[in-house]
């Protein structure tokens, strides 16, 4: 029992289960999943379906945070990719042409890779702090997205494009399949190969891992590129689900939700360790919270208040200083002031 409670995923999963169960009180049929017209229907399916873009963005964010960085630009990348794909489709004569949609998707994802590489270049090669480096694209990216859409909301009417975010394949929503595939791929690559360990060692101490013979720059660069790509896929899902692209509001505050999901999942913001399963649970938790607020009739405006509460609690529980002061009643030696110094001491404790 003790080992179960101590498990890294125990609290996030418990919170998720409690939240899901509390839904049962307000909505009796909450757990019912049925097949209608050959499609899966039900509140649980909806949570995963609408949560799929967040899972994607949060996955990329997990890798970036594991290298000790952060990517604030994902929301803008979401907007840019949705805008580019929709613009490309709206420009072509036959919007339902499959090749046309494929070209649009490839273009958008290619741009996402480039944007990720730009962030990676600034962080890994130029050596700018991650928050600041990605802030540039966060600010300029909104402008770029509006430049692509010309300040309008581009509406498309293309059934192949609609499939990505709103369609079904073999009775399952396509977005869920994509999210599942990417998650499985990420787990396979990071936990069945040495990649995960390399990422954690770079996050633990980039300089030490470079001296140990790891291409730490290359690893960091890769993390930002993957984050860009994941945000791009999420952008396609979101814009395809509503069949339109809004340069100004698509993916607004997505970076914050993604960081929140990662933090809830138990990945430390100091870098050096990460949990993909935790991130998925975190993303689902946030989506469940949003869905619960809508279904129980609590005014949706309060969602942000709940999120503020959740971030604060999770961060406090994760903070060693808080735990030491509140749970053990003894003070840590005051020799280490907060800030970079603390980050350094935490990193020493990383097992990887």
């Amino acid at each position: 029992m003790n080992t179960l409670v101590k498990h890294r995923l125990f609290w996030p999963v418990t919170m998720l289960v409690v939240l899901l169960l509390s839904n049962l009180i307000f909505t009796p049929g909450f757990f019912k999943v049925e097949v209608r017209d050959g499609h899966l229907y039900g509140s649980l399916i909806d949570i995963v379906r609408f949560g799929a873009p967040l899972i994607m963005v949060a996955l990329g964010m997990t890798l970036v945070i594991a290298t000790g960085g952060i990517d604030l630009s994902v929301g803008s990348v979401v907007a840019i990719c949705g805008a580019l794909a929709c613009w490309r489709i709206s420009e072509q004569g036959d919007q339902n042409s499959v090749t046309g949609v494929l070209v649009a998707v490839a273009l958008a994802l290619g741009l996402a890779l480039l944007l990720g590489a730009w962030n990676g270049l600034l962080v890994a090669v130029v050596g700018i702090q991650p928050i600041v480096a990605t802030l540039i694209l966060m600010v300029a990216g909104r402008g770029l997205a509006q430049l692509i859409t010309d300040g309008q909301i581009i509406t498309v009417n293309s059934s192949p494009y609609k499939l990505i975010g709103g369609g079904y394949l073999l009775t399952v929503p396509f977005a869920i399949l994509v999210a599942l595939a990417v998650t499985a791929l990420a787990v396979l690559l990071t936990r069945r190969t040495a990649l995960g360990m390399l990422i954690e060692s770079v996050g633990g101490n980039a300089e030490a891992s470079r001296l140990a013979g790891i291409h730490s720059r290359r690893i960091t660069m890769m993390a930002y590129i993957v984050a860009g790509l994941c945000a791009g896929i999420a952008g396609l899902m979101i814009s395809s689900n509503v069949s339109s692209a809004d340069g100004n509001n698509a993916g607004l505050w997505y970076e914050l939700d993604a960081i929140l999901a990662v933090v809830i999942g138990g990945t430390s913001l100091a870098g050096g360790r990460f949990s993909i399963a935790g991130t998925v649970v975190g993303a689902l938790l946030i989506q469940t919270l949003t869905t619960t607020i809508y279904t129980t009739g609590i005014p949706p405006e309060t969602t942000l208040l709940f999120k503020a509460l959740v971030v604060t609690i999770v961060c406090l529980v994760q903070s060693p200083a808080f735990r030491a002061k509140v749970f053990h009643g003894r003070r840590r030696p005051p020799s280490t002031p907060a800030g970079p110094a603390t980050a350094a001491t935490e990193k020493v404790e990383v097992p990887a």
Binding site: I70, V126, G127, I128, Q129, I131, V132, A133, L135, I136, L137, M138, V139, A140, G141, R142, G143, L144, Q146, L147, D150, G151, G247, L256, I259, V263, L269, P299, E301, T302, T303, L304, L305, F306, K307, A308, V311, T312, C315, L316, S319, P320, A321, F322, K325, S335, T336, P337, A338, G339, P340, A341, T342
Partner: protein, 329 residues
């Protein structure tokens, strides 16, 4: 003949290095103003510059608060949300509760300062990164806004309208009372940072928190004070914004934290902390304001070019910072 090594060694002198971003910003400002005057006849009217102050007074106040935080090496993402909360609370209390203006004013300033104080305490005592704590603060303040109301509330309180409409004239030109408030805030901030113990401690903590601690400087007090100042400045910025807009809206000032950070960075304050000036921040706000003015004068460029240009400028100045700060090995 000056060689590259000469330039480098001159850059390496700490005193020179400190002022370099400031000179770059000044040069940029002169260039932008010069090109404006050269292209458009009406641009040389001094009122154009005064209008930049009138339209950005609230941003100036918010950016001054942000300067304090960034000087300690922290960051405050909650400022935009606190600004919105201030406009919303003032509008509700004035219009729907009928409170007098002079009760509302201190109250909203107190709310802002309290929020900042709370975030500062969490950042310092529980050793959580400023970025994530102020993110939670941002969620909290925006959430409170939405809970108060989602629609825009127009303010027609006599004091507010007087502040919005009165003009301080000198000669043919005028500024709004808000600009005077903003300039007073700037002067106070310059004084505090340059001549008081709090200012010295702020620079010391940003330069190296560990040495500051070993020197026996009051880290807790300073760090919490800095976030309280930022909260207070955001609330004051919110009051100025509500003078300017004469309304309270939970969607006011979305993304203002980014403008404020951009102004501080363009103004030459190092994001790693420990080096920078409030006057630089004033220049940074002027640069942002002039970009908007130039784009308005041009008429062909759309508003989103503002964001792209600000992004490009951020990139250039951060690169410059990177070049002049010594590599830590």
């Amino acid at each position: 003949m000056t060689t590259f090594a000469d330039v480098r060694s001159r850059l390496a002198r700490p005193q020179q290095r400190r002022y370099l971003p400031l000179y770059a910003t000044l040069a940029l400002l002169a260039l932008m103003y010069g090109s404006g005057v050269a292209q458009y006849e009406a641009f040389s009217d001094p009122q154009v510059v005064l209008n930049v102050f009138i339209d950005n007074g609230f941003l100036l106040v918010v950016a001054v608060g942000m300067t304090f935080v960034i000087l300690t090496g922290g960051i405050d993402l909650s400022v935009g949300a606190v600004v919105a909360l201030t406009t919303m609370v003032s509008a509700t209390l004035l219009q729907e509760q009928g409170w007098p203006a002079f009760t509302v004013l201190p109250l909203v300033l107190l709310i802002g300062a309290t929020l900042g104080f709370g975030m500062g305490c969490i950042i310092h005592y529980f050793e959580i990164q400023p970025f994530i704590v102020t993110l939670a603060g941002m969620f909290l303040a925006r959430g409170l806004c939405y809970t108060i109301g989602t629609s825009s509330i127009t303010i027609d309180d006599p004091f507010w309208t007087r502040m919005a409409q009165s003009k301080v004239r000198f000669g043919d030109n005028f500024i709004s009372p808000s600009v005077i408030i903003a300039l007073v805030v700037v002067l106070v901030a310059v004084y505090v940072l340059a001549f008081t113990r709090l200012g010295r401690n702020t620079y010391a903590i940003g330069g190296n928190p560990r040495s500051a601690h070993l020197m026996g400087l009051p880290i807790a007090r300073t760090r919490i004070a800095v976030y309280t100042i930022s909260g207070f400045c955001s609330a004051l910025g919110g009051v100025l914004l509500s003078f300017y807009m004469l309304s309270g809206n939970s969607l006011h000032a979305v993304g203002m934290e980014l403008d404020a950070i951009a102004a501080v960075v363009i103004g030459g304050t190092l994001l790693t902390g420990g080096s920078g000036f409030v006057l630089g921040t004033v220049l940074g706000v002027l640069v942002l304001g002039l970009i908007q003015t130039l784009i308005t004068f041009d008429g062909r460029l759309s508003s989103w070019w503002t964001k792209i240009v600000i992004g490009a400028l951020l990139f250039a100045f951060i690169l410059l910072q990177r070049l002049i700060t010594p590599r830590k090995r």
